[in-house]
């Protein structure tokens, strides 16, 4: 045993993992601190957790280097793209926690609730920095495991447990498919590293073609499950409807950002030699996703289900950026995700505020006559809905504009025309809510459970989409610069 030589020196650039290490330690510390906080003062835990996620966002910016750095023998990659994604993820988590303070205040074991949200954030941050299928998969599972538990957190609510179980089973299935695909790519290239797979696949002979195609199809199917592309979207409406509303808001942003970052890295680094093949697969999926998301949303009566289908529809539009497969397309995805975060968080904040005589206002009819009782909320909801529909000069318009332009420049004109058609279909069900708010009679008395964090969220998100609608330039520049080093 004396002459054992360790072939690997101590890992370098450990400071680039500072945000992740901070979140991990803070989450574990919070788990202990929470034990000393009385049940009626649990909002202290929430504010501590919010502070942790905001500090993590600041640390992510702070460790950014001018060049891309790898740590842990190439397993961990820190570039501008990862930093941008991490800031978005941390902000999404902070918003989700702010929304939770009031909604979850009567639940037991709140400390673990916020700790699980922090661990999910850690998983997403690791996904954003993953340069390797091993770290990417471990980050993905860390995130997914936390979210399965968070979806089923309200154990007394039957549909919450049901949603959690459905999500868990389908999530496990999709992980299996993803791993099955990865084994094929590993078998052909002999590497788990994205760039290593890229060179391995480019050098592979013709006899490996079947294995490569199987790997490609299974990897895309597994990832498509995670970002809810049709026909792998089945879990989305049930999980969104059953989950506590703040968790629905949380899982509609961070996990999608992390999923698309991983998607972009895999397509750009590991599978560039298969661009024709994956463009074909993704085009088919995008056509189906846009149709399913936007058409099924029309038929929904529950607004959480409607927003679930609307997420699927937006994922369809975001996929245009993947299909464009260039820096502009990928930057457009990040622009889209940033604006989408503000729109969705604002909409969910108002849904949480809606309360009709103790019953959470989750039906679309519940919004009838809102403008007469609460003109300010009505206006905020109206702006958010117009933005989600993509009406010009609100944030949502520029999100769609960015991906559509990127796709047109990459030569996918017909696909963009198709997307415009479904964008118009989507406008119908968003604007229907505005019609309920402004033109319908009030039926049952409103009973708003107001609190300053919720009001702040509505205010911040609404101002953000209006400001981003008028000055979209800086955000687009930031995203373009972040993506510049990728290809």
């Amino acid at each position: 045993m004396a002459n054992v030589v360790f072939p690997y020196p101590f890992p370098e650039h450990l400071t680039s993992l500072m945000p992740e290490i901070f979140v991990a330690i803070a989450a574990m510390a919070l788990l202990l601190i929470d034990l000393f906080i009385a049940q009626d003062k649990k909002s202290i835990t929430a504010w501590l957790a919010i502070t942790v996620s905001l500090i993590a966002a600041l640390l992510s910016v702070n460790v950014m280097q001018s060049e891309a750095v790898t740590a842990f023998y190439g397993f961990f990659l820190l570039d501008h793209f990862a930093v941008l994604a991490k800031v978005l993820i941390c902000l999404g988590t902070a918003f989700g926690m702010v929304l939770s303070i009031q909604y979850m205040k009567d639940e037991e074991h709140l400390g673990e609730y916020y700790v699980l949200m922090l661990f999910a954030t850690l998983g997403m941050m690791l996904m954003a920095s993953a340069n390797n299928f091993i770290i990417m998969y471990l980050g993905l599972e860390l995130m997914a495991l936390c979210i399965y538990v968070l979806v089923g957190y309200q154990r007394k609510v039957l549909r919450s447990s049901e949603a959690s179980l459905k999500y868990f089973i389908l999530g496990a299935l999709s992980s299996g498919m993803l791993l099955y695909g990865v084994t094929f790519l590993y078998g052909v290239s002999g590497s788990f590293n994205f760039a290593g797979i890229g060179t391995g696949l480019a050098a592979a002979g013709a006899d490996a073609h079947t294995a490569i195609m199987l790997g490609l199809v299974f990897v895309i199917a597994g990832l498509a499950f995670k970002v809810s592309m049709a026909p792998f979207h089945m879990w989305t409406p049930d999980a969104y409807e059953g989950a506590p509303t703040p968790i629905t808001a949380f899982m509609s942003v961070g996990p999608k950002v992390a999923g698309f970052v991983v998607f972009i890295r895999i397509l750009a680094d590991a599978l560039p030699s298969l661009q024709n093949e994956y463009t074909m697969i993704l085009t088919g999926l995008a056509v189906l996703t846009m149709a399913v998301g936007n058409l099924a949303a029309i038929a929904q009566r529950n607004i959480k289900r409607m927003l679930a289908y609307s997420t699927i529809g937006h994922v369809g539009f975001i996929m245009l950026g993947l299909i464009a497969a260039n820096t502009d397309g990928y930057a457009a995805i990040m622009v889209y995700m940033t604006i989408y975060m503000f729109m969705n968080m604002g909409a969910f904040a108002i849904i949480i505020l809606m309360n009709r005589e103790g019953i959470p206002g989750e039906l679309i009819d519940d919004f009838a006559g809102l403008s007469r009782v609460r003109p300010v909320y009505a206006m905020a909801m109206g702006l958010l809905m117009f933005s989600l529909a993509g009406i010009p000069f609100l944030g949502g318009f520029w999100a769609k504009y960015a991906v559509f332009m990127a796709a047109i420049e990459a030569g996918h004109l017909y696909l963009v025309l198709y997307a415009l058609l479904f964008s118009a279909v989507g406008a119908f069900y968003y604007i229907r809510i505005v019609k309920y708010i402004y033109f319908d009679e009030e039926r049952v008395a409103f009973n708003f459970e107001e609190s300053s964090p919720m009001q702040l969220t509505v205010l911040v998100t609404t101002i953000a989409i209006v400001v981003l609608g008028i000055f979209p330039g800086p955000l687009m520049d930031i995203c373009k610069q972040a993506l510049a080093g990728l290809l």
């Binding site: 360790f6 072939p7 690997y8 890992p11 673990e112 471990l138 860390l142 936390c146």
Partner: protein, 194 residues
Amino acid sequence: MLESAFFNLFAGLCVLSALGVVTARNTMHSVMFLVFCFFNAAGLFFLLDAEFLGVILILVYVGAVMVLFMFVIMMLEQKKDELKSSVRQYLSLGGVIAVLLLMEFVAAASSGVFVHGAHATAAHLGQQINNTEQIGQVLYTKYLLGFEIAAIILLVALIGAVVLTIRKRKDAKYQNISAQVKVRREDRVRKVRM
């Protein structure tokens, strides 16, 4: 010679005990057969110089997973006649899967990929180091980041399992530690004049 004798012993017992698992009437006997099957499979791993896998198979599957199985079986008593009817119910589907698997095995065995000596094991390559040491060297160095994340995943699984199952029962007695600590002698001991 000795190696093939051991292989036949372990492989034969493995198949026999696997048959025992599916034919035993008593579920507890099935579990014990499965444990025996795992021991023999571990023996096969040792013959392949994969002693790490062999040890892990015994530690994890026999030591933890099968014990869990036993707990579950002891808690959920199943009636015997239910078992009989379920055999007939799944016979057709199970039969199709078994035939397909058999065909796959025959095709793989006759493909010429798995010929004797084609895949030399570590000892035959003249390695002076066993594979437990080899795994240990990379697990805590090259793959350290993944190892740490896996540890956090286990922690999350633990927290999640507790959060989803813990419940406060109204009729349960809880210890009130601060009340216990605050107790003074006068509260408990009373001087009685006889």
